[in-house]
Symmetry: C2
Subunit: 239 residues, 2 copies
């Protein structure tokens, strides 16, 4: 039975199958080895995610087997500032951590053998957020999200992961190590360019590898073309 | 329970989650509505596909529900010329048709309510095939596949679809209607560029629409962000 990876998160997960997206890249990378299941909910914070957890996961695990891993990638919306236009997405820091704990507990309860991989919110490029929300002529406006707030939520996410002994991807820190990350990795100060997607994809692969889930370690589904003997092709299909 | 689309075919299916790929585009398009399951087997012809059908579909249908649709996209390898280097992939025309019938029968038997959508082999651009196989200095070589042979197999595929009353996508004809299809739609005379992928994606959407499977007709998973009232967000999550 093919193992499964479940991707659970907000818009950065929902959009992960766009051209160059990190979800599609995982599906391509593991095309002959694993199924990638998309459960992205644009705009959601951890409070809302927790409300729909059971319904969101319907059909995510095929049959009896636990998914091999599930990524939990929330916080970009929780970290919205409480006094700006997207305030209804804001979740206070302590509740964000409590919600993450509850989401992880739910997964470990439902799928004891699944690895639960936390991903921190990404960094924010504030001028692009102001542009995205208010258009060209808004130099006096404040962004609805700040990089500082995202960093605080990222640290809070890492703390929960350490407390629960779950692997965590600190995409907030990682992304900021790349030149011009503000525009090379982010397309609107929040969502990912193909390059930003590649950064996350590489981190997810690395984390999956650390729990023994890799192209190298997984069996391939059915004989690969180069394993089929041109002189006796059907031999490869004898069970 | 989310409906599922199963993509079954050769390398053009296996590679369909590469950047701009038609499989990833389906997963993105139906992100909040359906799961797309990848079952691509590079290099396979219908003879080999038939040998592995049961094993290839393990885990493809989650639980009890039939997939809504399965695409069957073989023929590009069957149509290899019998006297060229890829002859071991060649399947005679009549056997190709018999194998397609057997694959369709298997799916209709296993998943009675699933729509089985046949896709013809794509057109072939022969100079690019010669270049791909023999490199730069091979003007005297013959290609391993010809567009004429692919067209013959495409017609044979269409005939089987009509006989069985299954929807069929004639990508061989459709693709050749686009300017410079030889290089705009194909990257190596056989596999698809992002533009070629887009052509097939559009055709698959159209065919799915014709059987009542569309963004418009399918319910969306869980409240969409614009349906959540900023003044009372949790209201949207009351069951």
């Amino acid at each position: 039975m093919r193992p499964r990876l479940v991707l659970f998160g907000d818009s950065i997960t929902e959009q992960s199958f766009s051209p160059g997206g990190w979800g599609a890249a995982l599906a391509e990378h593991f095309a002959r080895q694993a199924d990638v299941v998309l459960r992205g909910l644009s705009g959601y914070n951890t409070r809302w995610a927790l409300k729909v957890l059971d319904r969101a996961m319907e059909g995510a695990a095929a049959g009896a087997a636990d998914p091999a891993a599930v990524t939990v990638f929330f916080g970009a919306n929780d970290a919205n500032l409480p006094d700006q236009p997207q305030a209804h997405q804001h979740v206070p820091l302590e509740e964000y951590q409590a919600n993450l704990r509850a989401i992880c507990a739910h997964f470990k309860n439902q799928w004891p053998s699944a690895a639960v991989i936390l991903i921190t919110p990404p960094p924010i490029y504030e001028p692009a957020r102001i542009l995205d929300i208010y258009g060209d002529n808004a130099p006096s406006r404040q962004p609805e999200r700040t990089n500082e707030a995202a960093g605080t939520y990222a640290q809070a996410c890492i703390a929960v992961a350490k407390e629960l002994d779950h692997p965590v991807i600190d995409i907030w820190t990682k992304m900021q190590q790349f030149p011009d990350w503000q525009t090379s990795a982010l397309c609107d100060g929040l969502h990912f360019t193909p390059f930003g997607n590649k950064i996350l994809f590489d981190e997810v692969l690395k984390t999956l590898g650390s729990i023994g889930f890799s192209q190298h370690s997984l069996p391939s589904d059915l004989p690969l073309f180069h394993e089929i003997d041109p002189k006796d092709p059907l031999k490869a299909f004898e069970i």
